[in-house]
Symmetry: C2
Subunit: 215 residues, 2 copies
DNA sequence: CAACAAAACGAATGATTGGTATGTGGTTTG
DNA sequence: CAAACCACATACCAATCATTCGTTTTGTTG
């Protein structure tokens, strides 16, 4: 095996082990020795490939941030396929797959929030609305989308809100380990959520009078 | 000072220090010595009041779970005052105040998810839909609310969804430290979110034809 | 005040921490 | 083929870990 191959192989082994352990024990709670052992290397070798412990952590977060941008990400594919705003249930299924595929990385965000006051992920979250805005501009140039949505809000707000609630729902289901968190099977809960996001929870103005009269 | 007073004072000092440190350094990342020092006590004394480290953690989570049930909690007061479903912006302000007042406890949830696989908080989250259901039944007996909401979903789903998105929004703003996460001032973003939750993001059926023709 | 219990202290235990210094054997390159 | 280099392991450091324990101080009660 060439030296370059060995080096790369070791680095990914280290990062993999670090991801696994950081995401389950926290940053301070994980030792370089544990990481080295799980990667099948010596502690000294870890320091040969990475300057210090924190760099391991920030490298993993950067990986995540790149992954999230990948057009092949289920969630991004669903968006590109036009799931928003007309097929929110398809978007939900993509959200589930995305969280499931990045479970340890999501945990890393919680670790950053707790142990680094969110210092590493803050930039990512701040840039997020810009990412969504760019996506909308490329997928629906001009105000193409605005005319298809109800008035009174930015399309980006609607998109971010739908994304947030769906991704957070599955974070709770998968990372917190809570099935049927709304007291309904997830499929039903999603259908209802999609309905509320699309048509609202309040009675439409027109129907209100009728309903009231009937009551 | 009576013995009982001393004991209670020490216990709360220990728990306060533990909350502060666990919520900023994680569970494994916090030592009993640190807790004892911050509480102004000896390490041995901590073990006099609590059997082990994990009991400190679980005690804090139980405290949180009780707090969340308190009718005086801003969020609960807003609900009791009828903010749902007609004044979601008031509910949002209550959500912000609630998160701000329980910031370290929210961090504790993340710690539990990461370092205990969510084992301690899972029960709480599973019971949550029951809590909301009981609230709805007491505040709006029978189907009083169902007739005021659009058809096609459980009132509880709507309530939980609105609560989740609002509480999560402020968790990101306050714990993650991300201002204007939707690319808009929070006040505007909240107004838009409330509008979407209430009336939906899609064009109402009646308006659709008109809009299309105009385009 | 005597007798007892609870509260508090702080040292000791053996294991583990992040990081470094040094040496060795294989890979590359002149 | 030798010199430079790189991946890697070993050994080591001072500091810290959760927990235990013998002891002292403080409060309560008869």
């Amino acid at each position: 095996m060439t030296q370059g191959e060995k080096s790369e192989r070791s680095q990914t082994a280290i990062l993999q082990a670090a991801l696994h352990l950081f995401s389950r024990q926290g940053y301070r709670g994980t030792s370089i020795r544990e990481i080295a052992t799980e990667a099948g290397l010596s502690t000294g070798n870890v320091y040969h490939h990475f300057p210090d412990k924190e760099t391991l952590f920030t490298t993993l977060l950067s990986q995540y941030w790149e992954d999230i941008d990948d057009p092949e990400l289920p969630f991004n594919k669903a968006l590109a396929a036009g799931a928003f705003p007309d097929d929110l249930e398809a978007l939900a299924r993509a959200a589930e797959e995305t969280i499931r595929g990045h479970r340890p990385y999501v945990a890393l965000i919680y670790v950053d929030v707790v142990e680094f006051e969110g210092n590493h992920i803050r930039k990512f979250y701040s840039e997020m609305s810009g990412r969504f805005a760019r996506f909308l501009e490329s997928r629906y140039p001009g105000d193409a989308l605005k005319d298809r949505l109800a008035p009174g809000f930015e399309p980006r707000t609607a998109l971010m809100m739908a994304s947030r609630i769906l991704l957070h729902y599955f974070s709770v289901e998968i990372l917190f380990g809570v099935p049927d968190q709304f007291g309904l099977p997830t499929s039903v809960a999603l259908r209802e959520m999609a309905g509320i996001l699309g048509r609202g929870m309040l009675l439409p103005e027109s129907a209100k009078a009728g309903k009231r009269r009937r009551a």
